[in-house]
Symmetry: D2
Subunit: 290 residues, 4 copies
Amino acid sequence: MPSAENNMDASTYRVVIDCPDQVGLVAAVSQFFASVNASILEASHHTDVKLARFFMRHEIAANSLKLNHTDFKQAFAQLAQKYDMRWSLNSSRSKPKVALLVSKEEHCLNDVLHRWHTGELNCDIPCIIGNHKSMQKYADWYEIPFHYIDFSNKTEAFAHIEALIRDYKVDLTVLARFMQIIPDDVCQRLSGKIINIHHSFLPSFVGAKPYQQAYDRGVKLIGATCHYVTSVLDEGPIIEQEVMRISHSDSSDDMVRKGKRCEINALANGLRYHIEDRVIVFESKTIVFN
Amino acid sequence: MPSAENNMDASTYRVVIDCPDQVGLVAAVSQFFASVNASILEASHHTDVKLARFFMRHEIAANSLKLNHTDFKQAFAQLAQKYDMRWSLNSSRSKPKVALLVSKEEHCLNDVLHRWHTGELNCDIPCIIGNHKSMQKYADWYEIPFHYIDFSNKTEAFAHIEALIRDYKVDLTVLARFMQIIPDDVCQRLSGKIINIHHSFLPSFVGAKPYQQAYDRGVKLIGATCHYVTSVLDEGPIIEQEVMRISHSDSSDDMVRKGKRCEINALANGLRYHIEDRVIVFESKTIVFN
Amino acid sequence: MPSAENNMDASTYRVVIDCPDQVGLVAAVSQFFASVNASILEASHHTDVKLARFFMRHEIAANSLKLNHTDFKQAFAQLAQKYDMRWSLNSSRSKPKVALLVSKEEHCLNDVLHRWHTGELNCDIPCIIGNHKSMQKYADWYEIPFHYIDFSNKTEAFAHIEALIRDYKVDLTVLARFMQIIPDDVCQRLSGKIINIHHSFLPSFVGAKPYQQAYDRGVKLIGATCHYVTSVLDEGPIIEQEVMRISHSDSSDDMVRKGKRCEINALANGLRYHIEDRVIVFESKTIVFN
Amino acid sequence: MPSAENNMDASTYRVVIDCPDQVGLVAAVSQFFASVNASILEASHHTDVKLARFFMRHEIAANSLKLNHTDFKQAFAQLAQKYDMRWSLNSSRSKPKVALLVSKEEHCLNDVLHRWHTGELNCDIPCIIGNHKSMQKYADWYEIPFHYIDFSNKTEAFAHIEALIRDYKVDLTVLARFMQIIPDDVCQRLSGKIINIHHSFLPSFVGAKPYQQAYDRGVKLIGATCHYVTSVLDEGPIIEQEVMRISHSDSSDDMVRKGKRCEINALANGLRYHIEDRVIVFESKTIVFN
């Protein structure tokens, strides 16, 4: 419970990299950090021996640095090039813009908005987009623009959504129980920038009515999965999963209630990990430094 | 996932008893139920062999009965007397009136209101009472009267609260992170009708700042406890507990975030169990038919 | 912590039924119990409203009864017939005979034997059957006959196994990580009397190398499933499941270690539930009164 | 599931340090590693901002180094001195010698021995010490010397135990349900080298009969705690904790059964963390890099 974490004006830089593994890599990175006087608050490493690939995330106290954000980034870019890194360097001050897409189910929407409102999610929410007007009330209460999309024409509907995403300069689109299948081309354009909460413990029960499928199979736990959206339905890289125990005595209502709890928790964690630059997608999987 | 549970107009009666154990007790009760044509949807029994005491809860389809609520109750009263039962017989149609008491923390308030709003909690919420005006906004959105209580004079404040409880005919008072110690006499008058959410895994870390206590002791899980309030602080019968794993890398913010999750879940379950007549308090403990 | 449960000479009868649901059923059963002076220690009910089917398990103190086992059974049979029940009535004194089938993995074998040895599993273990001689040492230490089966001819091998099951009058066959697919006809002959521990959270990762499959998919929890064996591989009714959280930092060894823990716990519970007559199989699923 | 982890002949060095935090520390350490060509398989950092203290663990492929163990250690010692480090540098080839102390309960003993036997615990077990002769059988089966200690004279008994610890050059003493309170002077002499498994979720239910205490308080989860032993009973730094859900329907036997599962898992993890140099004790708490 270190008190410094409570100091809200202490912004940080988050440096996230992955690159081919080699001896001296950590030394080079940490020497660079030392050379700019970086005070490291959190450091996470992972070596995938089989892939010979290295993954790393640092969180650095911004006020410890001798350089500003731009100069820091420029200096790091040289190092990154030398080691063939994929990398990002974000300030905790630049909040990502997160758009929420919803249908009729309101539990995920309510939870995400509440966490955002109380400061747990370090993002902006420029808009809520829905195919049911009933969600307007949440948008109003939290004073966020709400856009109703008519899905009688699917192509137009998704064109409308993509236009909104462009106009609001959205960094991440969250399908917070948005019960529409995203077209391939949209998936590809938003690749790595769109996450979904699926109401099953994937890869079990892909597709529609996962609770019914779970009931029919007689599983003893149900779950939910937060994952990046790809063209193949429910096959994207998994960020977070949650499960809860059920039994024969759980009614349909009980299963839905428990399932909602899983969805809320998996989405809340998955979303936070993404926002805090804790997720690296590599091929079909994620490294999550949580 | 039986479909009948989804049939929202199908009200039920909940018959809850406890009494000295004896052979023939279950037969007598179930024969009575058969004699009035009761279709039993859910039945739970518990025998405490040491105490020679029997605990039982039945949920009965109201539309299966030959009698109305009043006649059913009257008929059951005779049986109850014969076996020296403590008992209750409630219809799922008569929703208990639940008052929420809050201070500044809004996560439990938001969660309870959301579950109530979406029909998960089968109760009415006639009023929200708070010692901080900032909670008014939740009350407004959900269109529930909010009463601000000034605590500069504690005695008057609690007199005011008790008057509100009386006026609103409140059945259950919930301390949804209400950071005031309830006076002995109020505890006694509300005995069995007031529940609290304490932000530790009791009996560890009684009293103030449980997260700091947990941090100082270096425990590897933190938790929350939903319990009935008695005169002895944090000593009342426990209804529900939740825990989450923590580690040295959890900051103060992380612990609070995880702790809130525990509080929300323990309170949501504990409150639902009480509302659905699933809790029997016997001496210092609870039987929970969940 | 009722002391009576500790009284090891207090044997019980376990009456398990399922039948079409109807009003008066519970009354009829409990009146019968009262008429023979049965002291009910544990009672569990379940109504499947959709199927209109009723499931029930009672545990009765044997020494409270006016009748002996045979007479009790005979008397109950009349009631059972009237209500078209599938039923069993077993004494806790007649321990089922459980045969263990193993390959090379020893963790499940060690755990089951230890629990049996310390009295947690109320069964006899007349034999251990294996296709690797290395498991002999466990059999020796626990003084249980070990039968090595040569699998160079599969048909003969299974004929040998079935002969052993017959000769030892085995009630339940446990595949404690027995890495051979059971032929259809054997599955059918042992229907309801053979359980398996599969090292994944079914229905995910059916078949071989489930940990590799889980690794490839990038799931965030792995699990194990204890289920009845049917002709369709890994499709039988599920008794118990366990899961554990994993992350990118878990090596192959870590996943195996965590997986073993899941397997041990799921098998231990599933086996105990079966032995204590806590499982009712209905169609493709189980009701587990635990 | 990187294949290299499966390569059993690939030994590693584990470098564990803690020291006052300062900018450049990580750079200095990682530059040193690079200078000796160290291939880092696993790296874990923790900064305690409040204490301004830094904690770090590295696991290095031994065969990547230009130096042997002795030279590596000597070279590192200079760096360590410069930064005022507490440190250790162990090879995975030098297995610590772990002595097991037991009374009558055999579940922890059985589990630790099984994990050791199957290679999960990378240690030697030179002796088992017990105050009940019945544990001899485990020692015999695993071919480990067993020493029975007569506790009619406590002082002599502990002198005997300490002599055995000395003679066997024991690195870690494990109280695997050893139901004797360790004298203060022994605690001090073995400080940091003796761990206990306590059968409650500490700090709840210190001392004797924790399950009875848990039963009396009516908690909804029970647990177990693996901790270093200090002079104050059950107050030492916690390494690992486990919990399981219980309810009113759990008998004494059920609680003991579930509690054993917690004990086994907490001890197995805690012991492994210690053996693999994953635990740093600082003041009254632990940092566990797991």
